[in-house]
């Protein structure tokens, strides 16, 4: 056995490094280094490139604690993200179930294509196309006015619902695809066995399918929740004057006032909060299993 596993040179570590090395180098260069630079920035009093003097300080993190504005926006962003994640999961599960267990063959491929399609279009284009649909006199308005005998003006554009719609559209594929993967892994014979022993549809769903699909759904929820907390494009373009969230405020620090240290500190506070929430969530879900 030992012969079979070791390389001709007889050094498995070297072989492992040559295989995994590029990936780790890439992670180091593309993820770890920029992040550490940003972490360093968050402790600086000023951006060094602006020519002024700078020193190390905790002030940027204290600003977050001192200013009720940032706390308020953080809570608002977390609320938005929870809402979007819930909607994505609820909408995504039946869709994934149909794909995995009900539909077969050609039509499944076509449906898959429809789900992946948003990934192929530019995010900005997706948001702008919602503008056409949601605005007063847009597609939604037009359809409703043709179906409804009295004039209606939905005008969803530039509102909180518009932000939620745009974000759900962007992140639904994650929820569907991750739930699909774990649903597909469920052996059909398990379901048949449950049925043969007299379990009703709801019981099968509750006791068998949902628990087995849970890891995939959780992964999808995490993939949605984390980026939505910091989202800034959708709130800015679809939310109008109601589109101020922690993501847009961080963007402003970087783009509008060149206050990278505060922007970085806010980003890392957000990261810490999100990690804490995920950690607690994982703990709770594990305890439930026992």
């Amino acid at each position: 056995m030992k012969f079979a596993l070791s390389s001709p040179q007889g050094r498995p570590l070297v072989r492992a490094m040559t295989l995994a090395g590029p990936a780790y180098m890439w992670l180091l260069l593309a993820v770890f280094l920029p992040l550490s630079v940003m972490l360093f920035y968050s402790f600086m009093s000023d951006v060094p490139t602006s020519g002024g003097n700078w020193s190390l300080t905790f002030q940027n993190y204290l600003t977050f604690l001192d200013e009720p504005l940032y706390r308020k926006l953080m809570v608002r962003s977390l609320g938005l993200s929870a809402q979007v994640t819930l909607i994505c999961t609820v909408l995504g599960f039946p869709c994934a179930y149909m794909l995995a267990k009900v539909i077969r063959g050609r039509s499944r491929e076509a449906l898959f294509l429809l789900i992946i399609l948003p990934f192929w279009s530019n995010g900005l284009v997706r948001i702008f196309s919602w503008n056409m649909v949601l605005r007063s006199g847009g597609v939604v308005d037009w359809v409703l006015n043709h179906l409804w005998p009295w004039p209606v003006d939905t005008d969803l554009m530039f509102s909180y619902p518009a932000i939620v719609i745009g974000l759900v559209h962007s992140y639904l594929p994650y929820a569907v695809l991750t739930a699909y993967l774990s649903l597909q892994a469920i052996d059909d014979s398990l379901i048949e066995a449950a049925r043969s022993m007299g379990a009703g549809r709801l019981t099968i769903l509750r006791r068998l399918i949902l628990p087995l699909a849970m890891p995939g759904m959780l992964a999808g929820a995490v993939l949605t929740f984390v980026p939505v907390v910091g989202a800034f494009m959708e709130p800015r373009l679809l939310g109008g004057r109601k589109g101020t969230f922690i993501g847009t405020v961080i963007e402003d620090q970087f783009v509008a006032v060149f206050n990278w240290p505060l922007g970085a500190a806010l980003s890392f506070t957000l990261l810490a909060l999100v990690l804490a929430i995920l950690f607690i969530g994982m703990r709770l879900s594990r305890r439930k299993d026992k």
Binding site: G51, L69, R135, F158, R241
Partner: protein, 355 residues
């Protein structure tokens, strides 16, 4: 023979590659210009005319914010020959050692510049010019003529409850604060009562439909009837009327308006100073300016002869060049980083309260 042939070929390719690289690095006849996109210096007809006249080929690069412009100058010394700097940012650029004084010898059009702007304390330090005033304009508001009649003469029109839900403004902290300063009878460069500004802005955000962020945005919102009245820039309002046939009137209210002055400077370490001077001189030339204004729509030239060469009815000549109007305009002074951050925070607080 074959070997020699190979060597010669290799050598030739090397020489050519070096030549290509060198031409990328510094082509003596190129003038590298850094400016906003679509803002005069990149008009193809103008570049053709300039090249035919002087032999210099213009290469444009663009920035999306003043901070990006400063960063590009800092990180690429020698890459640009001409840079467009808003006069309120000239001091900052100068203090960071990014600009060199412009020797105006051989720039005949400089003599025709409005002396107030030519010798502005923002651009001329110790008798040396760190920026040649190029164009100036006004940030105020414009109304949709089909929705609002007669055209109001007061800035309070933005706060008029009759237009609630049809008011637009730009999502820019400094512009917002300065508008509110005008509406509360304050000096935009020396705001004493920030609380009054805050409550005035709070009232304004509940009037808003949304923020606009580009000319294209603005034109669409007006055309689709979303905006009845919205903050805007004078040059852009001229373009909206001339180029896009929108029924808009730009208003300089009795409370005053925010003025800005854009200047052209030569960065420190520029490779082609002579080309830069020729290009700046061309940019303030009456011939270029009248074409720019009639073909595209431009802000007001700092060259008095260029403004005088416009048709008598042109907005830039008839309204903005009028001394009575000019006396109401408050020109923007440099803003310290602390003030900038304070304004942004105030603005974010107000936006976060929008229900």
């Amino acid at each position: 023979m074959a070997l020699i042939d190979k060597v010669v070929k290799r050598a030739l390719t090397c020489v050519m590659a070096t030549a290509v690289l060198a031409s990328f690095a510094a082509h003596a006849e190129d003038v590298h210009v850094l400016n906003w996109k679509g803002y005069g210096t990149d008009e193809p007809w103008a570049l053709k005319e300039f090249e035919a006249r002087t032999g210099y080929h213009v290469v444009n690069d663009f920035f999306n914010s003043e901070q990006e412009m400063l960063t590009k100058l800092r990180t690429n010394p020698g890459a640009y020959d001409v840079v467009m700097v808003n006069s309120a940012f000239n001091q900052q650029a100068r203090e960071q050692n990014l600009l060199q004084p412009v020797d105006v010898n051989g720039m005949p059009n400089v003599a025709d510049l409005d002396p107030k702007m030519r010798h502005s304390h923002l651009l001329e330090i110790g008798g040396q010019s760190y920026g040649i005033p190029w164009v100036w304009g006004v940030t105020s508001f414009a109304v949709n003529d089909t929705k609002i009649h007669p055209v109001p003469d007061t800035i309070q029109a933005l706060w008029d409850p009759a237009y609630k839900g049809h008011v637009g403004m730009r999502d820019d902290a400094i512009e917002a604060v300065q508008f509110a300063a005008l509406a509360t009878d304050q000096n935009i460069n020396d705001i004493k009562n920030l609380d009054a500004v805050k409550s005035k802005l709070k009232a304004l955000t509940s009037q808003l439909k949304t923020f606009w962020s580009s000319e294209n945005d603005w034109n669409q919102y007006v055309a689709s009837g979303v905006f009845y009245v919205s903050t805007y820039w004078s040059g852009s309002a001229a373009r909206a009327r001339n180029k896009f046939n929108l029924p808009v009137t730009f208003v300089i209210p009795k409370e005053g308006a925010i003025g800005w002055l854009d200047s052209l400077s030569i960065p420190k370490g520029a490779h082609n100073v002579n080309g830069a001077k020729a290009f700046i001189n061309y940019m303030i030339d009456p011939g270029f300016y009248t074409q720019w204004d009639s073909r595209v729509g431009a802000p007001v030239s700092a060259n008095t002869k260029a403004v005088a060469a416009l048709p008598a009815a042109a907005f830039n000549r008839a309204v903005l060049a009028n001394p009575a109007v000019q006396s109401r305009i408050q020109f923007q002074e440099p803003i310290t980083d602390d003030k900038r951050r304070a304004y942004l925070q105030l603005w974010q607080e107000i936006k976060a309260q929008a229900d």
